[in-house]
Amino acid sequence: MNKYIWAAIICSLLLMITGCGGGDSGGEEIELTWSTTSGYSPEAPTQAASEHIAGKVREFEEAYPNVELVTEIQNSNIDEAMARILEQADSGRAPDLAAIDSYLLDRYKDYLQPLDDLMKEKGMEEEDFFPFAQDVMKGEDGKIYGLYMGTDTRVMYYNTEVIDSPPETWDELIETANDIQAEGYEGIILPGGRGEGASVTTLWPLFWGQGGELVDEEGNPTFGEGENREKMLEVLETMQQAVEEGALPQRMSSYGAEGDLNEEIAGGNAAMFLGGSFQESFLKETLGDDFENWDIAPLPQMEGGEPASTSGGWTWGIFTEDQEKQKAAFDLITDTFITGEAMDALDQLPALSTLYESEDYDGTEFTEKFRESLETEANVRPSATSYRVITVEMQTALSDVIAGNKTPEEALDDAWEVANSN
């Protein structure tokens, strides 16, 4: 009797093993893990984004019935989340697909799979993306390692009823700010405190506009030595001059993010401010009919400086080596996130320039100008690990100068001493 029982158990086990290993690989159940931010998931905070992504995920699951989609929501602290994915990739435990902050993509390229063939299959060309996005996506070997989805840029918003022609240089900006104050408006308002907004909106565009480099090719800080020091010093001196001449309110030293300006904008006393493309929707919502009096212009530069802005946004990278998973992952991201419909739902600017002509992309009043900015002025922050210290120290330096706590030289020297000693 025992013999029969053992034979039955062995047969069942064999059947199970052959059942698992056999069959057509196309119909095989696979698990696709995608690590995404909550904003790029069905749990997105806005209804439009959430409905769009949830709908597209459902469509994907219908198109790929053999793929089980496992969603991992990243930590809301972006830098911490990015560090974790890098650690996972380093130990061979990376998710199959992950949303990666665009300026950090470089750090992941050793672990990511090239996407050139998949792009070709979809009819996507590298040149369809803006030049700054191509630089981010391309590895040293010329292959594409990430797909840029939404992006943003920094501009100057101004009220056309108060300002006829927008200032192009900081000298003009200080003059205009003083003129409009006589009419009862605030001067120029901008993020000048401790926060990333101060770096990307106020500091870097002025520094890059003069050809300044924050780090060298090895990622070591360079902003405080040689010609770079002169350029950075000029930026801080301009801020000091703007405060001393009454064009820039001292309280800007406590505004670290672009959003910190919103309260003043809503108050109605601001006639111009430096901010991000993402503030357009706030402006529209808050100002109502008065919004039609507002326009945007490139960020004012130093005398002789080139136009420059900062762009951010997110990319997608594929870690899995399994080709079937790669194809499914690529379809998921291109159909869900790299479409005109997606950009409208997510209220973002496409990094794929061809999407601006797409029928399913509506855009906004300023879309064309934002597009021009992305095409001609956009820069991306360096992905070097030293960047965190550089940005924190320079935000502090800017805040100190605007508050009148330190001279530009003292502030820059202190920032350089800390950043260079890491």
Binding site: L86, D90, Q250, R251, S399, A403, V418, N422
Partner: protein
């Protein structure tokens, strides 16, 4: 045989009894919990402070560079002086305000004045509100635009808008005042409880002996209250040294580093600059200061108590 058995039983009972009477058995759970949630994290922080660990790379080396950098780079001594100013004035005024408010309430209750419960509740609310919310509330009051409450009031007396949060010195003063408001309630609760236990016959005796109000306060009430004041002083000092949430919400440490107290500096080093080594080295300095202050308080004030 029976005698032997009895001896063995007695011996076992004695052994069991000695275990039963030993407090060790009862302390084991507490020791285990303390070791897990207190000793081990401190050990890890001290260990990490001797490394160059950061939040980006998993690898790190052991080094004392974090301490060398901390003590030699710009910012450390400013942070210490900022923290000293913040802690000293917060503690002194929390103690004074807490004492006088509780004294007023006790006197009010004595004379059956209406509204003492409302005052007590109102002060307690400040203690119950989370630090982040307090930071936001005071931020609204200190707002430097026309919508700022203090600046609006000041405009009536022609004092114009004051840079409460963007002037380096004024911002530190603003943060300290907000913290005094927040912490006064805790001092009030402790001192109020202490005042309730004051023996009325001793005060009455002092009165009969001819002691006036100030003499009764300084020679009778304060000495009796000193153990409570000591505990209060230790708690609010450590609490103020560790204040992070309210300052973060109110100024974020700015402008520049004008309001960056030690605990905020730890946060910035670890979560903004990703420098775990430097952040934990600063945490060890904070731990050292807290321990030293507690020991000094116990030595100086505790001796009087004996």
């Amino acid at each position: 045989m029976d005698a032997n058995n009895n001896m063995t039983i007695n011996h076992a009972e004695k052994k069991r009894g000695s275990w039963r009477s030993s407090p060790l058995l009862w302390l084991i759970p507490l020791i285990a919990v303390l070791a897990f949630v207190f000793v081990y994290p401190i050990f890890q922080i001290v260990r990490l402070s001797f490394t160059d660990a950061n939040l980006i790379d998993a690898d790190f080396d052991y080094t004392i560079n974090s301490y060398i950098r901390l003590f030699t780079l710009p910012g450390f001594y400013q942070m210490l002086s900022t923290t000293s100013f913040f802690v000293f004035f917060s503690v002194v005024f929390q103690l004074i305000c807490g004492f006088f408010i509780s004294l007023l309430i006790v006197q009010g209750e004595k004379f059956k004045i209406k509204g003492t419960v409302i005052v007590r509740t109102a002060v307690l609310v400040a203690w119950a509100v989370p630090g982040v919310i307090i930071g936001i509330i005071w931020n609204t009051m200190y707002n430097e635009t026309d919508s700022g409450i203090f600046n609006y009031i000041l405009s009536f007396i022609g004092m114009g808008p004051q840079p409460f949060l963007s002037d380096p010195l004024l911002s530190l003063l603003s943060v300290t005042i907000a913290n005094i408001w927040r912490g006064t309630a805790f001092s009030m609760i402790l001192i109020y409880a202490g005042l309730q236990t004051l023996p009325s016959d001793v005060i009455e005796a002092a009165r009969i002996d001819g002691a006036n109000a100030i003499q009764r306060l300084t020679r009778v009430i304060l000495p009796i209250l000193s153990p409570i004041l000591l505990i209060n002083l230790i708690i609010i000092s450590i609490d103020t040294f560790n204040t992070f949430d309210m300052v973060m919400a109110l100024t974020g440490g700015g402008p520049g580093r004008s309001t960056e107290v030690i605990s905020l500096s730890i946060y910035n080093s670890i979560f903004n600059k990703f420098n775990m080594g430097e952040g934990t080295a600063t945490a060890v300095v904070l731990l050292f200061i807290n321990v030293m202050m507690t020991m000094v308080y116990l030595k100086v004030l505790g001796r009087k108590d004996k």
